[in-house]
Amino acid sequence: MWREELNRCADERRQYLDGFTHRILVCAGLGCPGNEEIIAALQRVIAEKGLGDRVLVRKVGCMGLCALGPVVLIQPGEISYQTVRPEDAGEIIACLGQEPVRRLLLPPDLPFFARQHKNVLALSGRIDPDSIDDYLAVGGYSAALTAINEMRPSDIIRCLQESGLRGRGGAGYPTGLKWSTVAKAAGNKKYLVCNADEGDPGAFMDRSVLESTPHAVLEGMVIAAYAVGANTGYIYVRAEYPLAVQRLKRAIREAERLHLLGHAICGSNFDLSIQIRLGAGAFVCGEETALIESIEGRRGIPRPRPPYPAEKGLWGYSTLINNVETYANVPKIIERGPQWFAALGTDKSKGTKVFALTGKINHAGLIEVPMGMSLREIVFDIGGGIPGGHAFKAIQTGGPSGGCIPAAHLDTPVSYESLSALGSIMGSGGMIVIDETSSMIDIVQYFMQFSMDESCGKCVPCRVGTAQIHRLLSTFQEAKATEADLAQLEMLCDLVKNASLCGLGQSAPNPVLSTLRYFRQEYLDRIAVPAPVQEDEQ
């Protein structure tokens, strides 16, 4: 009965949308400021020309190419316009069904779009994030209904295990294995948490997914909660993302209205309530145990692991914590089967990954590619290369916890293993392109300042170590360093990496270590006094 009811909502929505000759989709993400004015201008022209029953203007989520935004898409015909301004509304409407507006046209074969493989982002920029009917109309929540009505929790977990999905928050822990640990944990009370505390500066995958397809995340959470036996879920989201929070709140309300969340979901005996918890600007809260402390209303100070949250999490109960993108991957895996997902990507890193491609790059924006694509394809084909005739110097992945990969390794395929072999990490998906005008020492010091400021202060190696590394980097920055400073820098990096309690400290030296490995000359050039005695073999 529930399925029929939802199908009816979906059919009505499809009929409504099909009733228009043309649909104009306007990106209403944070990355396209001014979209409200464009929507208003388009609606004004439509009203003036009396086209209200034939042309529909819709706000949709992020289309990805933020560098050329605001982006507008015309359906049917899939005509994309770039850098649209409200003044263009008249021309766009006048050209509907005729030759497109040439000066605004985005080439349909642009590698930025053609080379991507959209899975998590497939609906992003296609549906109205504030409309649950829109999500239902494209088959939304059918995976959740299938899971709850036709699958046993153990079937779902097996499905996830076979798919090979790994955590998209950065660490890459096998999702199915995590779910099975929580499912097997003792006790009847379990919690579910969605980690949307995207603190990595220069990354916005989670923001965009939450702003564009909040229901996909909720659907993934419903399936996860059913699989592990949790009845309460929390989404821990940054307060810096007000639009994402607003859309999520609305999505939760709408899902509750249609009994897709709440008590007895769609007539089953399964309950799930989801609440939002706002972060308050602490990078360390992306670490799962610090996040738990924060949900419990305390300072975000990590706990030692083990016990892992899967055993002892929120209020001491077994807790499943996954990242936004991980949950957003789940509905498709249930719908299309684990083999479909496992066929994408590399041997050990399956599926696709969303990246925020920014920095000194022409087509900055949000992209999704199969694991295993080379960094060169990402930077030069999808990203369109470096602007201003400058040369590529490095690509920074993983933010303050990652490293800088030089041009010599551009042909590396992107996977959890290959990036960590290069001394960087996959991270949550931030990719910042650096050109030859930037000093690596400056970038590294920027990250170390960040880690130093964000260190929670609990353990000494991180609290004192990051400050000392930052101080040493300053001597390099001012070109006053000595050989001894270099040796001490390396020693301290090793110490902080190995002796810190949580991921923040353990990974904070990565930017320094990776640049010492690939851009050592920049450090050596800033050593003021050459070492008087010993011969340096390097």
């Binding site: 944070l30 400021p33 810096e240 308050a280 600007g281 305390r298 300072r299 920095g359 930037s438």
Partner: protein, 167 residues
């Protein structure tokens, strides 16, 4: 200190209602501290000693813990903000694109460093570690409106015009 010292809100201000409601929603459980501080900061713009003491007694949480949480998280401010706020994003993409020069310009022209407010209480400067609009880097956010992809001269002109418009 008796727990009932602040049973009633400190003043007959409707904004205290918002704070009370936030605590009530969580059944006055100490876990609701961060949610309550968010509500209080939304209502008053910052957290002062009176507010924190009130929340402390209502949630039966030691004042030290309330103060500890309020100072741990960057989002909470213990000082009132100016009438207008300029946020400068200092995420990685914005750093690579030179937003430190905008901060330097603000220091030279308005004598402001991040976290401070002009003496006439008109303008606060804050540093945000990434608003997530990295493709628009460098990003500045005058009074909540994202402005991106501007060169230094363009950005400073926008800031000057914005300040003369809102003055």
């Amino acid at each position: 200190m008796p727990a009932s010292i602040h049973e009633q809100p400190p003043a007959d201000d409707r904004r205290w209602k918002i704070i009370d409601q936030a605590m009530q929603r969580h059944d006055y459980h100490p876990d609701a501290l961060i949610e309550t501080l968010h509500a209080a900061q939304d209502a008053f713009g910052y957290l002062d000693a009176e507010t924190m003491t009130y929340i402390s007694s209502k949630l039966k949480t030691p004042p030290a813990r309330v103060f500890g949480v309020a100072t741990f998280y960057n989002h909470f401010s213990l000082k009132p903000k100016g009438v207008h706020t300029l946020a400068v994003c200092t995420g990685t993409a914005c750093h690579v694109k030179g937003n430190d020069r905008i901060l330097a310009w603000m220091r030279d022209h308005y004598g402001l460093v991040p976290g401070e407010t002009t003496p006439d209480n008109q303008l606060s400067l804050v540093e945000v570690r990434c608003v997530g609009a990295c493709a628009l880097a460098p990003v500045i956010v005058p009074d909540g409106n994202i402005v991106g992809k501007k060169r230094l001269e363009e950005a400073t002109t926008i800031i000057k015009e914005w300040l003369s418009d809102v003055a």
